[in-house]
């Protein structure tokens, strides 16, 4: 029979405390060998790719261990703001431009030391920024996916989605997804004055109701698979992944313009290791990494030296010089009108 006495308890507590101090000892040892350089990316396939393909090449290049910060754009915005200008959570932020533009406006991000990033010279104009405030390192083109067995006459343009025959078959994104914002502005551009014509955008979008809204394209995939949604704007990578699983999916490159999910790379205002930051961005823009990204995520390479391999041409319908035809949006305007857009979205859509 085991009896717990005060002495046992004290011994146990002392043991626990000893374990704790051992652990902190290990921690100090790790720091002594060089603190890890933190790089951010998304979970799931992204995390796997970064771990398996990029980190083994990046660590020897930087001469430091590299640690991943897994999350989402809105979370990084909050952590950067909470940490403040003087102490950013990590040096290089990769995120959708819609989030980066807010942090840049607030002075939490600084222009890149462009001279130290040699691959910048080969990057398409579409991906370059004024004063090299940042660089778009990853471009995932977006078109229309449809179920070949449920849609007899697929649309060839965005404009055709308003055709009555598609009503009830469409799927879209919730306002927290940048694709929802892009689509709203696209509707303003197609049917109103220009992309900033929100009144027309909201009016036209409301005409398409009812439609389910998902938070991200990974959540649209199962709805297309089940046939719950028959037509949806989606990035080609997600659509090709569905085709490879045997789902009867057709892909349309809309004649009135291709959209994109962008990942802009930004240097924090007070980056602790500017040198490593330049090396990391240069590495991400290099032909080697751009090719790896294209193979893994069917992204359109931003480096003009990369030619999309023949076997990927079908999966990456927009690449090379055509990249310049991708529609871009004024994210600064979006950031300034964020609350109005959200309010109206909640009320009208």
């Amino acid at each position: 029979m085991f009896q717990l006495t005060r002495r046992h308890m004290l011994a146990g507590l002392a043991g626990t405390a000893a374990m704790g101090s051992l652990a902190t000892g290990f921690d100090r040892a790790a720091h002594a060998q060089g603190a890890p350089y933190v790089v951010n990316t998304y979970g799931g396939r992204w995390e796997k790719f970064w771990r398996a393909q990029l980190l083994p090449k990046l660590e020897p290049m930087l001469g430091r261990p590299v640690k991943l910060d897994i999350g989402l754009g809105n979370g990084w915005v909050s952590t950067f703001r909470a940490a403040g200008k003087d102490k950013s959570p990590f040096d290089v932020l990769m995120t959708n431009e819609r989030y980066a533009v807010m942090l840049r406006d607030e002075g939490l991000l600084a222009p890149m030391p462009a001279a130290k990033i040699t691959n910048l010279a080969d990057v398409y104009p579409l991906a370059r920024y004024k004063n090299d405030a940042a660089v778009t390192g990853i471009v995932s083109p977006i078109g229309i996916a449809y179920r070949t067995d449920l849609v007899k006459a697929p649309p060839t343009t965005w404009r055709e989605l308003w055709d009555a025959k598609y009503k009830g078959q469409l799927g879209f994104y919730s306002v927290n997804n940048s694709l929802a914002v892009m689509f709203l502005m696209l509707a303003g551009k197609l049917f109103g004055k220009d992309e900033l014509d929100l009144d027309t955008g909201f009016k036209k979008l409301a005409e398409l109701k009812p439609f389910p809204q998902v938070d991200f394209s990974g959540a649209m995939a199962p709805l297309l698979t089940q046939g719950q949604v028959a037509i949806a704007p989606i990035d080609f990578a997600e659509a090709v992944a569905l085709q490879q699983k045997g789902v009867p999916i057709g892909i349309v490159v809309p004649q009135d313009g291709v959209l994109m999910f962008d990942q802009s790379f930004n240097v924090a205002a007070n980056a602790a290791d500017k040198d490593a930051s330049c090396k990391y961005i240069d590495f991400m823009l290099s032909p080697e990494v751009q090719t790896l990204l294209a193979k893994e995520f069917f992204t359109a390479p931003v480096n003009s030296k990369v030619k999309v391999p023949d076997e990927l041409q079908a999966a990456i319908p927009v690449s090379g010089d055509n990249v310049s035809k991708i529609l871009t949006f004024d994210w600064q305007f979006v950031a300034r009108n964020r609350e109005v857009m959200l309010d109206r979205w909640a009320k009208e859509i």
Partner: protein, 288 residues
């Protein structure tokens, strides 16, 4: 019997008090304070104080409408869960000890499966190419598969399914606490089984009913995942509006004010229900 000194009782309670203070009181206090702060862009909130967020949350017909709708849906879910759970609880309270464990395990088992998994289960069952549509097609009841997902009835169904155990357990406990002699006395005085149920069993189980209804109502109006997944953002309830404000617009103070308004409305509704049931509860207190 040795009397335990007061300090040791407090010492035993200390971990719980610390835990509650650090993980409930502090964050909640921060939320309340944040809901009165001015908005800011370069920080979560500004330094000045304001009532504007509450004026917007309680003055804008849209947000008031969402609040009312959320409370109505929560009430509907609590009532439906009660209607479904009471017979289960009655049966569970009546079975012998050997069966009780088995049935108890059956009632509790859904809690061992995450809400996400259960929601996806419904999504598969009700989907365009799912089993329900297949059965209806095979029976010739429909010619084309139906799009059944993403509406209020599906959200209500999903939430009722999740909440049944939370209603069954407190009611079962209340029913098992009723002295069988009371029901026998009622029978021997000539009451039918139905009269006995209405005039003895049901009133005596009211404390359990109140606990279950309160718990389910509170959970229902604060549910986010199920309305998002099964409602496909077409069913607009307050939690999803709060989340949109917090992570979409980064409007933390306004989001906090909306969350506070929801909590306050919930407290008021639960308070009114408790007060309305007080005379009944007082009458049965002598017997339970």
């Amino acid at each position: 019997m040795r009397k335990t000194p007061l300090w040791s009782t407090w010492l035993l309670g200390a971990p719980v008090l610390v835990l509650l203070f650090v993980f409930l009181v502090l964050p909640y206090g921060e939320m309340v304070a944040m809901s009165f702060r001015t908005p800011a862009t370069s920080a979560p909130y500004g330094n000045a104080w304001t009532f504007a967020h509450y004026l917007k949350a309680l003055g804008d017909p849209f947000y008031l409408g969402v609040l009312g709708y959320t409370l109505a849906v929560g009430t509907l879910i609590a009532v439906l869960t009660l209607i479904l759970s009471y017979p289960i609880a009655l049966h569970l309270a009546r079975v012998g000890d050997r069966w009780y464990l088995l049935f108890y395990a059956c009632v509790v088992s859904p809690l061992l499966v995450g809400v996400l998994v259960r929601n996806f289960g419904w999504m598969i069952v009700l989907s365009f190419s799912g089993p329900l549509n297949q059965i209806l097609l095979a029976l010739g009841l429909i010619e084309q598969p139906l799009r059944l997902l993403f509406n209020l009835p599906v959200v209500v169904l999903g939430l009722v399914h999740v909440f049944v155990p939370f209603m069954v357990l407190p009611i079962t406990n209340a029913l098992r606490n009723i002295d069988p002699a009371l029901e026998e006395a009622s029978h021997s005085l000539g009451a039918t089984r139905w009269e006995t149920f209405c005039r003895v069993t049901l009133p005596l189980s009211l404390p359990g009913v109140l606990a279950g209804v309160t718990l389910v109502f509170a959970l229902a109006i604060s549910a986010f995942v199920t309305p998002a997944l099964l409602g496909g953002q077409n069913v607009v309830l307050m939690p999803s509006i709060v989340i949109q404000q917090l992570i979409g617009a980064f409007a933390w103070p306004f989001g906090a004010a909306l969350a506070m308004a929801l909590s306050l409305a919930m407290l008021i509704e639960i308070g009114v229900l408790t007060l309305a049931m007080r005379p009944l509860l007082r009458r049965v207190a002598r017997w339970s």
